[in-house]
């Protein structure tokens, strides 16, 4: 099985890191993973995105034209990628910044007010963890415990930030799980 997720947002929203934590979790679980950033002119100031592939077999092409899932942190990202995803995939929408809804009815939508939740949790910068949690909650692509473990390792050097980030992750995860159950 292979899942592909595009994490997309504004530069500075931490989508690259969110994708990296997911990829690393997959790797720690012994699965095949690729994390591929979009790099290029849009780096400066514009949008940023990365693709994370998690699979059971060696991953052939790192390029995915039609990813299964989308995690959109802002509106341009949703608009750019939503049309590309495969039917039946998950689209996680940061409702704090995206007023509109995805214009597709063949995908599963997970709405999360990532920024609000992060601010409430005490770290405006951790919206990326909220949405990552939500993505994992909804898709179950990796077990929650593994995700937490990776996040802890990644944040090892900034131990003060661990609690709030884990809190964000958890709240997101719960919302995601709920959405899945819906």
């Amino acid at each position: 099985m292979q899942t592909e997720a595009v994490f997309a947002g504004f530069g500075g929203q931490g989508v690259m890191l969110a994708g990296m934590v997911l990829a690393e979790t997959g790797m720690n679980l012994g699965r095949e993973v690729v994390w591929l950033p979009s790099y290029g002119p849009e780096m400066r100031g514009g949008t940023a995105n990365c693709t994370v592939i998690i699979a059971d077999e060696p991953i052939a092409s790192p390029i995915v034209l039609h990813p299964r899932d989308i995690v959109a942190m802002n509106r341009p990202s949703l608009e750019k990628f939503c049309g590309l995803m495969r039917p039946g995939g998950y689209v996680v929408v940061n409702k704090s910044l995206i007023a509109v809804d995805p214009d597709r009815d063949d995908v599963r939508v997970v709405n999360v007010e990532a920024n609000r939740i992060a601010i409430e949790a005490g770290s405006a910068k951790s919206a990326n963890m909220v949405i990552l949690g939500a993505y994992v909650g909804a898709t179950g692509v990796v077990p929650y415990e593994a995700l937490v473990e990776t996040a802890q390792t990644v944040l090892k050097k900034k131990p003060k930030l661990i609690p709030v980030n884990l809190k964000c992750l958890e709240q997101g995860f719960e919302l995601g799980k709920q959405a899945r159950a819906d």
Partner: protein
């Protein structure tokens, strides 16, 4: 050792260090600057030398100097930067100095763009500098393979006393994959008794490519020619995919595009169309012999490239034009998708004859 998730550029950097490449010169250029950035932090830890030179021209001549003094040295750059190294590369090859040059290719020609490309195939393989010389050219298609090829590249550079190129595309440099730094064993290398490292206890050594006497210069040319022939005999590397059972078409692709072909092969297999792949790992020497064998059962060959078809001539030469050789490519930083590639195969299978 456990796997770590690493960006291609950083993995290359780390592997270079572990392979003993403790002397690194560079000039920043996207999409490979992370190699330099990583090494600027890491070299002091391992007691190696890191220097950002004033230009790629200078960097390539620093390689000449360090290599001539017997030091394992290397650089990384990208297309326009590599073009600036052509004079020095010809000197390095002529003076038979070992070094490793990694080219994380970007879209060209000219300033072009910074997205992935395979547009430097001809420059690397046919020779971009003046005179008769060749580089051994490796083309990894994953971060792990890039990591694995670094020690091999250093070994072969020393063994042949020749520059070795590693050609990745922007994707290889930028993507993260799990990698393992495996110890590799190599037969012991001959002593660098030609190096200019002080003439204590021996006659002076000279590192040189000037031969005013044409007879000596011809000898050098022939000696180099023999070396390249030896590489063609001993150094060919490739990967086959799906060649175990009958197939209707054969992909030829290297680096990132080979991975795309693999996905296309899986997709096609689902539709009952069997296609195989030959992936050259060495671009020079080109796996001509094996390609010629593998071409046999195929109705046609399809070269998939991120260039205008620079590998086509080598494929045609290898197969003596016995089979139609088709081309599917994207350029300018666009990467062919597995879907596009699969569709092209279907189109070709549907159609009558292709180019000769």
């Amino acid at each position: 050792m456990a796997k770590v998730l690493m960006k291609g550029n950083e993995a290359i950097a780390e592997s270079g260090i572990r392979a003993g490449g403790l002397c690194y010169f560079c000039y920043p250029i996207t999409p490979q600057s992370e190699v330099a950035e990583y090494l600027s932090r890491r070299m002091p830890e391992v007691g190696g030398a890191f220097l950002q030179g004033e230009s790629e021209v200078a960097v390539s001549n620093m390689l000449y100097g360090a290599a001539g003094a017997g030091v394992r040295c290397w650089t990384t750059s990208s297309s326009p930067g590599i073009s600036l190294m052509m004079e020095a590369l010809s000197y390095i090859a002529a003076a038979e100095l070992p070094c490793v040059i990694v080219n994380i290719v970007r879209a060209g020609p000219g300033l072009g763009g910074i997205l992935p490309s395979q547009g430097d195939y001809r420059q690397a393989v046919k020779g971009g500098g003046h005179g008769d010389y060749r580089c051994l050219v490796y083309a990894p298609s994953s971060v792990q393979e890039a990591v694995d090829l670094m020690p091999l590249a250093f070994d072969r550079a020393d063994r042949y006393r020749n520059p070795v190129l590693i050609i990745g595309d922007g994707m290889i440099g930028q993507m993260m994959e799990p990698v393992e730094f495996r110890e590799q064993e190599f037969p012991s290398l001959p002593e660098k008794n030609w190096a200019t490292d002080g003439c204590k206890g021996r006659k002076p050594n000279v590192v040189n490519s000037l031969y005013l006497n044409p007879v000596e210069e011809e000898q050098l040319n022939r000696k180099l020619g023999e070396k390249y022939a030896r590489m063609e005999r001993d150094e060919v590397m490739f990967e086959e995919f799906n060649t175990g059972k009958p197939y209707r078409a054969l992909f030829v692709a290297y680096g990132t595009t080979a991975r795309i072909c693999k996905t296309a092969i899986k997709k096609l297999a689902e539709e009952g169309i069997d296609v195989a792949l030959l992936r050259p790992i060495t671009l020079f020497p080109f796996p001509s012999e094996r390609l010629n064998e593998l071409a046999e059962p195929a109705e046609f060959l399809l070269s998939v490239e991120m260039s205008m078809g620079q590998m086509l001539e080598d494929i045609r030469l290898a197969t003596c034009c016995r089979k139609p050789v088709h081309f599917y490519g994207r350029q300018g930083g666009l990467v062919p998708s597995p879907e596009e590639v699969a569709d092209e195969v279907k189109r070709l299978l549907g159609s009558a004859k292709g180019d000769r």
